[in-house]
């Protein structure tokens, strides 16, 4: 069912060759919205969930953003298809494991997805490669205003947009930026960064938003608070924190280059060598190696264009994607072989690392 999404040549996260930049992988903004007069999904019975689902499917279909988009009823997707959508950040794990009567509407270029009957009736997400809090919010704001015209959302002047969980009340907005922070991890500064930003109402989590497992040195940084501040103020605060984190990351990278040049080059060189010659590869190892290759691109050892290839492989090396590409159910061990094959093929098309291209800071 999801074939066309995977094969699409316009998918934002996997086909964004021109937009991939150092440090920031992608920007996402999501809004939680509920329909006025309907019980929230967790409290709703199955017929209420079905009604909300079909009502939302119809209304969302009329919005210009969803023109030529696709709607999926979660009940009609296989476990593997759901996993692929989770790995592409188009649906949440909670939705994929939730009760019957849930769905997702995804627009043509996969920059917008709307989950129906997750924790709230609607969870709208806009996503873009690179660091774009303002422009992603602008798209979201326009979409939300169009939605406001199409349907009555649950709102109170005191508490703002009403959500099932008080953590989302008010704006219902969670803005998050996916960051690649190998410099801070190598310098063992991540703990300090996490503690410092949490005092500012900002949360840092590992790649898939569960625990703080930071495979591939990828972290998701987002606002924690949603009530009592306007969307613009929240985005400004988050943006300022992120700019500081970016500065620290860049400094950490150059400090590492200055202090341990040979060791850093050795790690990057070995990662590249492994990816060219590997025959058995787990997804964790793949992501950690890809992280070092992305760092190599940022340092100038590989052409800028290859950054987007790394970002695509970050997603395509996930278990669901490897299994989906293999067309049939394969065992985890066979998956590690298939993943290794793919990496060898991709990396033999890349130019060799050019260590002389590395420029020092300033």
């Amino acid at each position: 069912m999801i074939e066309s999404l995977i094969k699409s040549e316009r998918a934002e996260l996997t086909q964004s060759s021109k937009k991939a930049v150092p440090v920031v992988l992608s920007t996402r903004v999501r809004l939680a919205r509920n329909l006025s007069g309907w019980v929230f999904p967790e409290r709703a019975n199955s017929s209420q969930r079905r009604d909300v689902l079909s009502n939302c499917e119809t209304q969302l279909g009329t919005l210009p953003v969803m023109k030529r988009g696709s709607f999926f009823n979660l009940d009609s997707l296989s476990e593997l298809e759901k996993q692929v959508l989770v790995e592409r950040h188009l649906i949440s794990r909670e939705l994929s494991e939730g009760e019957s009567g849930a769905g997702v509407y995804i627009n043509k270029d996969q920059t917008c997805s709307v989950m129906i009957n997750e924790e709230d009736h609607l969870r709208i997400q806009f996503l873009k490669s690179g660091f774009h809090l303002k422009s992603v919010w602008k798209q979201m704001d326009a979409f939300d205003s169009a939605l406001d015209q199409a349907m009555d959302v649950a709102y109170s002047p005191r508490f703002g947009y009403l959500t099932a969980c008080p953590t989302n009340l008010g704006t219902g907005m969670r803005a998050s930026v996916m960051m690649h922070l190998p410099g801070l991890v190598i310098a063992e500064q991540m703990e300090r960064v996490i503690r410092a930003v949490s005092q500012l109402g900002i949360t840092v989590r590992g790649l898939f938003g569960e625990g703080s497992d930071a495979t591939g040195h990828v972290f998701q940084i987002s606002n924690q608070q949603t009530l009592g501040e306007s969307e613009g103020d929240i985005l400004d605060r988050l943006g300022n924190v992120l700019k500081t984190v970016i500065d620290h990351e860049i400094n950490a990278r150059y400090k590492c280059l200055e202090d341990n040049r040979a060791k850093l080059f050795d790690q990057i060189g070995r990662a590249y060598g492994i990816l060219r010659n590997v025959h058995i590869l787990s997804s964790n190892e793949a992501m950690n190696l890809l992280s070092l290759v992305r760092l190599a691109v940022d340092f100038g050892m590989l052409p800028d264009d290859n950054r987007a290839d790394v970002d695509r492989l970050f997603i395509e090396c996930q278990p669901g994607h490897v299994q989906y590409a293999a067309k049939e159910g394969i065992a985890p061990e066979a998956r590690d072989l298939a993943r290794a094959d793919k990496m060898r093929e991709e990396f033999n098309n890349l130019p060799p690392l050019d260590f002389d291209k590395v420029k020092d800071l300033g």
Binding site: N34, S36, G37, W38, V39, F40, E42, R43, T62, E119, D141, D144, S145, A146, D148, Q149, A150, M151, D152, V153, A154, Y155, S156, P157, R158, F159, G160, Y161, L162, A164, C165, P166, T167, L169, G170, T171, M173, E191, R192, R195, S198, Q199, G201, Q225, T226, L227, G228, E229, S230, E231, D233
Partner: protein
């Protein structure tokens, strides 16, 4: 002899007294040596009193008075267990329980962001139209036909305005 201050976690004598300001709110806690160690209080950089309070606040009142939301059936116990609400009406029903949670969670408890202007306008004009229709019926029953005609025109105007909003949005 002054009364000993007790540790907020275990009840032993407190020797560590902490005040921390998070989001312009003052949090105070008294702890004994052992609990302070356990909670990482001795590391001033990494310790967040707000986090500690949020985690230990898991209501110890077993005999709390139960309220039930008339619209969705969500109860005080449901709210305590899940931390979530069941429907829009719950916000009024559970407001006294919700406010302290929101104070710990957010910088303020008043919404300062976006307003769904169209939906609010539509909802208020719909309820106005409903009221006008009721007075129209009354006017007809009372055979006040001039008054009825005037109300009917107002309803037509308002309905046209509501439709306009919906048409221009497409």
């Amino acid at each position: 002899m002054a009364d000993n201050i007790k540790c907020g976690l275990c009840g032993n004598e407190a020797t560590v007294h902490l005040t921390q300001i998070v989001n312009n709110k003052i949090h105070k806690v008294d702890l004994c040596e052992a609990c302070a160690q356990k909670k990482g209080v001795t590391d001033p950089e990494g310790f967040s009193l707000a986090d500690l309070l949020a985690k230990t606040n898991v209501s110890f009142e077993p005999k709390e008075k139960q309220i039930v939301c008339p619209q969705c059936g969500h109860s005080t116990a449901d709210f305590r267990r899940t931390g979530r609400l069941g429907c829009s009406a719950c916000f009024e029903v559970f407001e006294p329980l919700l406010l302290p949670v929101l104070e710990d969670m957010h910088p303020d408890t008043y919404h300062k962001g976006k307003v769904p202007a169209v939906a609010l306008r539509r909802q208020s004009s719909e309820s106005e139209i409903r009221m006008l229709k009721e007075s129209l019926q009354r006017a007809v029953q009372e055979e006040a036909y001039e008054e009825a005609a005037r109300i009917r025109d107002m309803i037509h105007e308002m309905e046209a305005a509501v439709n306009d909003v919906e048409v221009s949005s497409k």
